[in-house]
Symmetry: C2
Subunit: 191 residues, 2 copies
């Protein structure tokens, strides 16, 4: 693996475990057996490294969301399920990334944060549009404001980054199914 990727990978691990500010450049290079000269050859600053991590993460999510949404053969319900599953499955592959994405965003500078926030909003709006589409096509009931519903679903999914254990007894696929069942059908006994 290239040194730049090694640095990125190890940084994600350390930022996730200890936090951005609590991880020094020295920690990162020491654990790779190199020196700071190497780090600053590949990254112009610690902040830039964090921005790289954020960009890779959100761009990957957006791209996979696009794939799901552009599949014409699927119903809105199925698409919601696919998106929820994707978000939760993501933990297994990119456990630390997501934590960093939510926890360390404030260490970006204004300009960088703005870019990331805009991309996050894009993801959110795509989901909101899907829900609105489902409402207009009669798959989902009207009466509930799509924006709040969207935030509710995203909250459920995103929060799982704080508790979901990939080695736990409930597999990600199952969690996604339960969440979608819950959101679609509710937990109350229907009269």
């Amino acid at each position: 693996m290239k040194m730049k990727d090694k640095i990125t990978e190890k940084s994600i691990e350390l930022f996730g475990e200890k936090g951005f500010n609590e991880t020094s450049i020295q920690d990162i290079v020491d654990s790779l057996g190199v020196t700071k000269g190497t780090f600053y050859y590949y990254f112009e600053s610690k902040q830039q490294l964090l921005m790289d991590i954020h960009l890779t993460f959100i761009d990957d999510l957006l791209s996979r969301q696009k794939d799901i949404l552009s599949d014409q053969s699927k119903s809105c319900k199925t698409k919601i399920f696919d998106i929820v599953r994707m978000l939760i499955k993501n933990i297994e592959k990119h456990g630390w990334d997501a934590l960093i994405f939510f926890r360390e965003i404030r260490h970006l500078n204004e300009e960088q944060m703005d870019k990331i926030v805009k991309k996050r909003a894009l993801f959110q709006h795509h989901l909101e549009d899907l829900i609105k589409l489902g409402m207009s096509q009669g798959e989902f009931r009207g009466g509930l404001p799509a924006d709040i519903v969207t935030l509710g679903i995203l909250g459920m999914c995103n929060w799982s980054y704080f508790w979901f254990d990939p080695k736990g007894r409930v597999p990600d696929e199952k969690v996604a199914m339960i969440y979608v069942d819950m959101v679609l059908n509710g937990i109350a006994v229907q009269r």
Copy 2:
């Protein structure tokens, strides 16, 4: 107001805005026009101050949850609504507190973190028990695992700390109603 309370209040504000590590004791005392000696007269360490903030926050939540749950006259559905409303209403009064509670917990030491994590788990288990009760009494349908449902509901609520704007167009009462409607009845059109 007593100096100790002033320090706590201002610290919450600064920790919320800038983060725990990014706020120095000097920042706190400067913005109050006192000196570090004053700070260390009231708090034994920066970490202890953070622990104070965490304890006050979770103890308050637990106490209010207890009040809701112990009301015999209410149905499980109503109790769920009350808890969700309480969590979301909390943002208006304690906006920054909650952010600190979720974001800065890792700056506590092991022993402190353990205490807080246990209290968080208590809150979670109380909610889980309520859902199980609702299932056994026929208010909620069975088939969904109560623990995952609990985490879903908590996720929805807790995530709102990251976006809810007390001055926004949707009032907290309304958000709580939408979330509970969503969780109880689902968003799908029932066949």
